[in-house]
Symmetry: C2
Subunit: 436 residues, 2 copies
């Protein structure tokens, strides 16, 4: 194992100088973020960008939206990185002696690659702008659900302008009917848009406790990095190597700034990440998945988020009553000892008179109950569920583990995320043989 | 004159379809902005994005930062416009039948043009993001003076990656010494950065009364559009036509949204534009000047801003005392009749004991006085200036016109801006023959 890692590092430093630059920039970006965040706490509090950490007994007011500065640091890092992959075309000579009429390789310069990087940064930055607008203006869900679609336009437009691939390889079992490839045409753009919307919002939904947003993002981004490294290592297919290098260029600095944010957002949090971070993270990951040509593998890394979303659906779409907040609740043993503060799952009471639950909603709950995915607290005289946990992954975990401290809940969910990533790798590298 | 305009319109609709699309998008963007701004007034007030209109007798609280939504509308318009100039390469077939292996023109596709558009939008969007961050967080001047430089990075990087021209044509009089062209090399990048910083902040400095920020922007953008149209009309040089088309693609929708904002910001203002708008406007104009290859002509359109900046320098750099606010002051004749509210120039009192004015500062004031650019109110026993108008263009105009209503002040300054644009055209198309 250690030998393989050493081997990979040696291989990279030998053949992929840009990647080394990207790695160094990632470290610098992370360190800059670590230095910057504490300085911004007061200005953010002054600007009323703040929130109450309601899961702590003393309910401290923390600065919110610290996702903004780390996103800006990330964007500046990416701006500076733009020319690096093209350094060969400049003969390594920066700034000096590059004049239009002296450029011999003009015809061969990979402008489409440059355009790809620019459109990716543009999409990410659009999402940061809209995310920040949401944090400040508190936009309603019915509008902001479309924000990622707007931010994704430059990416899709570039994909289109770049004569993008719009076919998917057919699974072996379906080939007799559909042929080796299915040309999705415009549907492929719908598919990409859905991916963007899903990635962006799913991180925002699995949220609410210290360290969970940045934590899950970190696990996903590390999974992507490992997947990329496995691809580029001694791969003879130059095109495949290139797209995964592209992915790494975006993921390494992203991981750097995410780590810095997690450091301050970890229990007990000193800052909140804000919607800005969730949007920024989701979009960056989606962009990399699309332009890196691994949208299916990417979806595999989102298994917990996908589960959380599907699990939430009965409440999100109002088949079952949905209280305004579904966050875990605090159980205080001893007010003065913060380590004794435990979280237990929050509960929804189905009030049959005020807001009757329909047949479909009840069927959903009973189905979840049969699967062992519901913690039923009480039933009414007719045997119908009258109290159960709110339908979020956090509450489900709590209903199994019982009351635990906030940091242990974060760790448990992150452990689930890691296990799911391992499962994703298993599917991607072993099971896939039976399908493709 | 009318015939010429008709001729130009006919010429454009015949040869430049993309321009017609851009024009239609500009109208749509403007109308969308007109519809959107009133709806956002309450949400912006709720989010505490608001300011007091202190030049009105009843001091109303108005929503601020309405530059953000119009910038977002502009950006979305530009996203949607991206593929339009390249429509020939798709054979006019949108979405359907564009598959990688069927693309015959792949080699000839002008990716560098696409990259140019993407990097321009990226720079503008970066400035919007930083401008909005400034509006929310109220960043100090010593930091935000560098914001345009940061936002300009993608533009300069693209310019560099695109083997950008870094020479300037030498004026005839200097050719014996320097040759026909001067290769500025890295200095050219410093020159471009300075232009970006200047354009962005100069609009932000000539501000403070209803309609002035959007008004001056409108005059400048219309001047650029006229200049572009003069260039593309029956010009045989294809390359020159292309860069000015590029400029028009950016300026037309920009003018559309600026008009919409001006409509609501005009006296008596219903909304404020915020730093976001000034930054957005300055950056868009600077980007167009740089990538449209007319930075020198652009500077000519900024004569009033340049004058205002130079005129302000003694106070900005603290050679002369600078009060916190230098806005014109209100002179109320009749509190109940708003039409009777007049503005007169605000005054700085040079307190020799508290904050002595240095010799250099005094010399500057006396120099301005000799030029007729200072309204001296009083002198002390030693004959030194002890009271004069604050050094801004607005106060200078007021010191000449005497107390006038706010809307007349705006109109006067805009008239100056228009006259300066005419002067710019005269310099550009007549005087220039003596220099180049």
């Amino acid at each position: 194992m250690l030998d393989t890692i050493k081997d990979i590092i040696q291989y990279i430093s030998q053949y992929h100088e840009s990647l080394v630059v990207s790695f160094i920039l990632a470290i610098l970006a992370g360190l800059t973020a670590v230095k910057t965040i504490p300085r911004l706490k007061q200005p953010f509090l002054n600007a009323k960008l703040s929130g109450i950490d309601i899961l702590k007994p003393n309910k401290p007011i923390l600065p919110e939206t610290l996702g903004l500065p780390i996103a800006i640091i990330y964007l500046i890092t990416m701006f500076l990185f733009i020319p690096v992959p093209f350094i060969d075309w400049f003969g390594g000579k920066f700034f000096f002696s590059v004049v239009h009429d002296e450029a011999p390789h003009l015809g061969t310069f990979p402008y489409h690659k440059l355009g790809e990087i620019l459109s990716a940064i543009l999409a990410i930055q659009s999402m940061v702008l809209l995310g920040f607008a949401d944090d400040v203006l508190d936009v309603r869900w019915r509008y902001k659900v479309w924000f990622p679609a707007i931010a994704g336009i430059p990416l899709l437009i570039f994909y289109y302008t770049n004569f993008g691939v719009t076919y998917v390889v057919t699974p072996i079992q379906l080939r007799p009917w559909f042929g080796d490839m299915i040309h999705l045409g415009p549907l492929y753009y719908v598919y990409m848009l859905s991916l963007i919307i899903f990635c962006t919002h799913s991180i925002n939904i699995l949220a609410g406790i210290n360290g969970i947003e940045a934590g899950q993002t970190l696990v996903i981004s590390l999974s992507i990095i490992i997947n990329d490294l496995l691809y580029i290592y001694k791969n003879p297919d130059q095109r495949s190597v290139e797209v995964h290098l592209f992915s790494l260029y975006f993921m390494l600095p992203f991981t750097g700034v995410t780590l810095a944010l997690l450091y301050y957002n970890w229990y007990p949090a000193k800052v909140f990440v804000g919607d800005t971070f969730c949007y920024f993270a989701g979009m960056t990951i989606a962009v990399v998945g699309i332009l890196g040509h691994f949208p299916k593998t990417l979806v595999l890394f989102f298994i917990p988020q996908m589960f959380n979303f599907l699990y939430s659906c009965p409440q999100l779409f109002r088949f079952v009553e949905c209280p305004r907040h579904r966050m875990p609740r605090v159980l205080v043993d001893n007010k003065n000892d913060q380590s004794k503060v435990l979280l237990h799952c929050s509960v929804v009471t189905l009030n049959q008179e005020r807001k009757p639950t329909g047949k479909l909603g009840r069927a959903m709950l009973e189905f979840l109950n049969v699967l062992g995915l519901l913690h039923v607290i009480s039933r009414d005289d007719h045997g119908r569920i009258s109290q159960c946990n709110n339908l979020t992954l956090l509450n489900l975990v709590l209903s199994y583990t019982g009351p635990i401290p906030e940091n242990r809940l974060t760790c448990t969910v992150l452990l689930i995320q890691i296990l799911c990533s391992l499962l994703a790798f298993y599917i991607r590298y072993s099971l896939v043989k039976f399908v493709y």
